[in-house]
Amino acid sequence: MAGPDEAETERAPPASWEASVVVRALLVGAFVVAALAANDFIVHSVLLIDAVLRRVFF
């Protein structure tokens, strides 16, 4: 998986490699956090049906 970021690197002055890694890592981390939040949301939405049924038979 080669990085296509290099195309942009050619057009504009590049930032330092360290800064690039930090920002890219931040982006990946944000994807992970968003996916974990989505996972949590799906599970608790489904468990809401469970709660409604328990409420009915309370």
Partner: protein
């Protein structure tokens, strides 16, 4: 759970075709992701191949139509075969819906990842975004869990139809506990898959020797901020749902039959469980039978009708003479005598004096929810004529246990206390109606 899933597929008209459609479409999306990673699929081509997702709703629509026609046909057909066909039709609809919805969702998720990967091969888009988007594939385990647990829950709910009412709540709770545990396990698999895919993407990031332009970095930072905003929004929305699902419900109550908390009964706990029987409510100013306001004469007549129905519907089964008495703690002896007299005349000689206690639980999402916890005292009921007749027949009267004469008490509160006290010694107790 897998057996239940297979059974659920069996209920769906063209069920195997629907499963095949989901698998084929998801497989095609996985192939598209691989092609995208090898830069052999343009974003335009990926967008167009997304139309293949329509295959799932199309097959689902065919299946829904078949189920619906079965249901309609059942309504028009002969009653004997109609009930089964009606149930089959509904089963088809109920089982196909979550399968089609979650199948489409998984395929859509894979398609979106494929699109992100294909866009990542374009010079305008940073590759990191495409790599990062792959972590969403980790949600698949949760979505599969939703389908399996949903099928199982539907199957268990359907099976409750043939179960005695007193076992329904316990069985439902067991089924819900089972599906909940499994769904949480699937979610845990998803969580670790997401973290694992994230770690893999991070390895690619660290190993990438190229430095990005400042503009590309700014765009990536903006994208990260948007994602974090999205995550924060989801977390805020999910917070009340999480609070609700994480707070355990109180254990099932023994007094589940008594739904009415009126009138306010003496604050006592009886030694017997309430049985399913006609409920006679004695208020200070009126009487009611199963919630309907009645006079003392109506009460006697309607109880007689219920008794006759019982005998007609259950030939060979002896009538137990049980009626549940829910009386106001302030009810006077004369009000009790009038109501219990009607109960006695109708032949209900084993009343259960019930004591209801409201139990309120505050839920994060539903607010205060109340249930009535009821216990009872099983007693006998007789009058002086019964005494004379039984003596004349030479019956042993000792099985009446402790005799509690009604006229000795001024209110139901004191009578009830005496009944509970006597019954707690383990002996039988009977109420003797005065003149």
């Amino acid at each position: 759970m897998w057996e239940t899933f297979e059974a659920a597929v069996g209920f769906i008209p063209h069920g195997r075709l629907l499963v095949a459609a989901v698998l084929v479409v998801c497989g095609a999306q996985l192939c598209a992701i691989v092609l995208g990673l090898r830069r052999r699929l343009s974003p335009g081509a990926q967008a167009i191949q997304g139309t293949s997702l329509l295959l799932i709703p199309i097959v689902a629509a065919v299946s829904f139509r078949a189920s619906w026609m079965t249901t309609l046909g059942a309504l028009a057909g002969a009653p004997a075969s109609g009930v089964q066909a009606f149930t089959d039709g509904l089963n088809g609809l109920v089982n196909a819906s979550p399968m089609a919805a979650v199948g489409t969702l998984i395929a859509l998720e894979l398609w979106a990842i494929g699109l992100a990967v294909a866009l990542g091969s374009e010079p305008e888009m940073p590759a990191t975004a495409a790599r990062g988007a792959l972590v969403f594939a980790g949600l698949s385990a949760t979505l599969v869990g939703v389908v399996l647990c949903g099928s199982y829950a539907i199957h268990e709910l359907a099976s409750l139809a043939d179960v005695e009412p007193e076992r329904k709540a316990t069985m439902l709770r067991a089924a819900l506990d089972f599906t909940r545990d499994h769904l949480i396990r699937f979610a845990l698999i998803s969580r670790w898959t997401i973290v694992g895919l994230g770690a893999l993407a991070m390895v690619f990031v660290v190993r990438d020797p190229k430095a990005s332009s400042r503009r590309a970095l700014a765009r990536q930072a903006m994208c990260a901020a948007l994602l974090l905003l999205f995550a924060a929004g989801l977390t805020i929305v999910a917070r009340p749902l999480r609070a609700e699902s994480e707070l355990a419900w109180p254990p099932p109550s023994a007094g589940e039959y008594l739904l009415a908390a009126d009138p306010i009964t003496p604050d006592l706990v009886g030694p017997d469980a309430v049985e399913r029987a006609p409920v006679v409510q004695i208020f200070v100013d009126r009487l009611a039978l199963d919630g309907d306001k009645v006079t003392a004469d109506d009460l006697r007549d309607r109880l007689l009708t219920l008794r006759n129905n019982f005998i007609l519907l259950r030939p060979g089964v002896s009538f137990d003479g049980v009626a549940v008495i829910v009386a106001d703690r302030a009810a006077s002896t004369s009000q009790l005598r009038r109501a219990l007299g009607a109960v006695h005349e109708a032949g209900y000689l084993s009343p259960m004096f019930a004591f209801a206690r409201s139990e309120t639980s505050v839920r994060p999402l539903f607010g205060p929810v109340t249930r009535v916890h009821a216990t009872a005292v099983r007693a006998g009921l007789f009058d002086r004529i019964d005494d004379d007749v039984d003596r004349g027949l030479g019956k042993d009267l000792s099985d009446r246990g402790v005799i509690v004469p009604l006229e000795r008490f001024t209110s139901y509160e004191s009578l009830a206390r005496r009944l509970v006290e006597a019954r707690r010694t383990g002996s039988a107790v009977s109420v003797r109606l005065g003149d």
